[in-house]
Symmetry: C2
């Protein structure tokens, strides 16, 4: 018998929206309410750079599920509404809309409060009131502002060379804007891939854009309608001045946990709300999903905070089903499979980067080969790195660059999820046809290399 | 200590050539001899249609490893030489070159004798002496003859609508030739994919070419330089006459086992030489690889004869290493992962087709979805079918059509090799980025559908 559960979801991002949909699928009698502080329903934040670039026509296209869609699915969505607090004793949630405060009773809550942008320690810059010309790109509103400003600018600066910073840089570059990227660390993409792989990208994109790695911004000076950025190299102390018309800050995020923390949800070492394999917090009937949460890395079993759309959606499925009375268990950690495309590069990775593993306990192999048999014209170079466990031979992680690398990394993700030994994985029968794939794919060759290194040691 | 093993390899196709290379890598002291009845060293037979189409410039490009290459690797290659018999008692192999017969002693033999073309029971047609205008496309010599003839023809007929028949048809179609395909069975690709998937292809390609499924050729009549083919429908008995300038026969192959059989190797129900997971025959020190062999289907554990380049190469690796004193074990059967591209279709499959499984013991699911998130332009439709075991939920097989389907099928191949339950596979974290992949890939959605069907039953 289905229970008439009252489910309140805080936030209508990919996590909250997905949770609502799966709660509805699980339990057609559930009373589901989404409380969203913004004005839109569920839209793709990851898609924002591609509206800037023009690949996607306009911001409305990013709306995956409209308010009407939710209403048709009998999901009540309160937009422009914020959550003040959770009253656990009376099982009520206190919400605010237009200065009017109301209470809504719940059986389960799903917290999908997302994250806040991190801001580098600039002189004179207040996060909540960025000066004109300074932007984040985290909402449709941000995107619209940027799109308006870039129509007549020549130079843009992106602070932060992570996946999102590089995606934004590429989108502005496609508009004919000269690009500076300033990164505080010596390497780009340092959270996503190892140095030896990112260096390949770094070398090539620095021919297209002005890439300043290992630089910190020391001072910002307004110069007419534009800005001067004073930057200093962390190692050499060299100082450079950059003129720019626009600055986009993409230096990461931190979990938004205020409501959860006040309600008593346990917060983890990464600053996120701790959730388990049901996406439940430390409190009964309170679930959490997405960027505000902390869960485990599948390989290391260490806590990680979540910042990938693919993970957010999977947590949303789990929380939605579980909050609605079902039973959905996630694997014991996330693989963090991810991919991106910028400046002509396709990049993908799965599992922890080497820095998050004990160097003495791993073996890595690298291989660069063609996507097609040597005799068939048009094969593209694919570079791939595999990391295995020195004791067990288990596949732990992989990273790569090249055409359709994400689909190859998915296969390795499947191997990791199965705790598969490289000795067997290297024998995987991959599909072969001259115009499509070689008899031995790069994923099997890089595995064979790793296995041989392993055998030499053991 | 490495043994100075004498290894004789019969045949320098992909299987024999690969075996030689891996024997050499395993044992630098081994004395390796390849006996090849043709004049070329290792070349790609699978690549032949793409020379016809012009995608590959000329037949020499197909040579992956030349005689010089083998000689440099200290592998002795005797071309234009055939094997007469194996003298097991004296451990000698009797070979013939230009009517001179010699004996060569061996420690191990690797039989890579390939297959022979099957020929439909035509009136007046002798396999060893095809009439002018009739061809196989199995060797560079065949390819050269066809390429010469097609320069001034208008109509070609391909007999057999399997993978190879369709690849050949596409290659001639690209040359502007009108194409007939005659298939004796009601469906195309009946050995590779299920009817519900092949029908999608059948419908679309029959708009481009004249496809006669369920037709047998009853009579062939020479008409000047060309031919009239009289065909009859197996069901309706309708008779049609086809004019054609050229006929290519692609109705499958059967294993070439003469030498192996005479030597006493056990022959299996499929007509191939039985080999085990070391690619060894029933006789000590005699290995066999490729189209002449019979091994197991990984899923059903039933014997299959081998006809895929990807498998041939993997057997070659195993036989080469094992014959040279190493130890390489193949999985307990082949997944038969395969892919092909013709008339704009990309197709891939892994595991047995439904007809080779017990219908009462399986559940299948189908899904058609986009390769990209809905909001990102340019996503391509991908159709995918998954077959799981009704009792255990194990993934048994998959088939699909669409862009990069082979790489998606590889991921499912990895799942099958791990005897993975669909319940877990549907939770696989696939890589996501708007211009590259949706948050939930078609492989995870089709798995979720299968799981739900499974749950409804159990």
């Amino acid at each position: 018998v289905l229970q008439e559960k009252k489910i309140i979801i805080i936030g209508c991002g990919a996590g909250g929206g997905t949770a609502a949909q799966f709660a509805r699928k699980q339990n057609r009698k559930a009373k589901i309410t989404i409380i969203e502080k913004g004005n839109f329903a569920q839209y793709s934040k990851c898609g924002l750079p591609y509206v800037i670039s023009g690949d996607i026509k306009n911001f409305d296209n990013l709306i995956e599920f409209s308010k009407e869609w939710f209403n048709k699915s009998n999901i009540n969505i309160l937009s422009n509404t914020s959550v003040e607090s959770i009253d656990k004793i009376n099982k009520k949630i206190i919400v605010k809309n237009n200065n009017s405060i109301t209470k809504k009773s719940y059986d389960s809550i799903i917290i999908a409060s997302g994250s806040n942008p991190q801001i580098p320690p600039f002189e004179n810059i207040n996060k909540d009131e960025l000066p004109k010309g300074f932007h984040f790109l985290r909402t449709i509103e941000d995107g619209k502002k940027i799109l308006k400003e870039i129509s007549n600018i020549k130079k843009a600066t992106i602070i932060g060379a992570g996946l999102i910073g590089l995606e934004i840089a590429d989108s502005l570059y496609k508009k004919g804007i000269e690009i500076n990227i300033i990164e505080a660390l010596p390497e780009i993409l340092s959270k996503t891939i190892d140095k030896d792989i990112s260096n390949t990208i770094q070398e090539k994109i620095s021919k297209t854009i002005n890439l300043f790695t290992n630089y910190l911004i020391t001072r910002i000076e307004k110069k007419g309608r534009d800005y001067k950025l004073f930057i200093k190299n962390n190692a050499t102390f060299e100082k450079i001045t950059i003129d720019t018309d626009l600055v986009i800050i993409a230096t990461g995020t931190y979990p938004e946990i205020k409501i959860a923390k006040e309600a008593g949800c346990e917060i983890g070492v990464t600053g996120g709300i701790i959730v388990d394999n049901k996406s439940q917090t430390s409190l009964n009937n309170i679930f959490a999903v997405g960027d505000c949460t902390e869960y485990l890395d599948f390989v290391t079993k260490k806590p990680i905070s979540i910042g990938l759309g693919s993970i957010v959606v999977r947590q949303g499925i789990a929380a939605g089903i579980n909050a609605a009375g079902g039973n959905y268990t996630l694997p014991e950690g996330f693989l963090q499979t991810c991919t991106s495309k910028f400046f002509g590069f396709e990049l993908a990775s799965v599992g922890p980067i080497s820095n998050n593993l004990d160097k003495n306990e791993i073996i890595s192999s690298k291989y660069e080969g063609l996507s097609l048999p040597n005799y068939y014209p048009g094969g593209k170079l694919i570079k791939i790195k595999l990391i295995i466990d020195k004791k067990t031979g288990y596949i732990l992680a992989a990273q790569g660059i090249g055409d359709n690398i994400s689909l190859r990394i998915n296969t390795i993700a499947c191997a990791i999820l199965n705790r598969m030994n490289v000795e067997i994985f290297r024998k995987l029968e991959t599909a072969y046809a001259p115009p499509l794939a070689p008899t031995l794919d790069v994923i099997t060759i890089v595995s064979d290399i790793a296995y041989k290194k392993l055998k030499r040691i053991n």
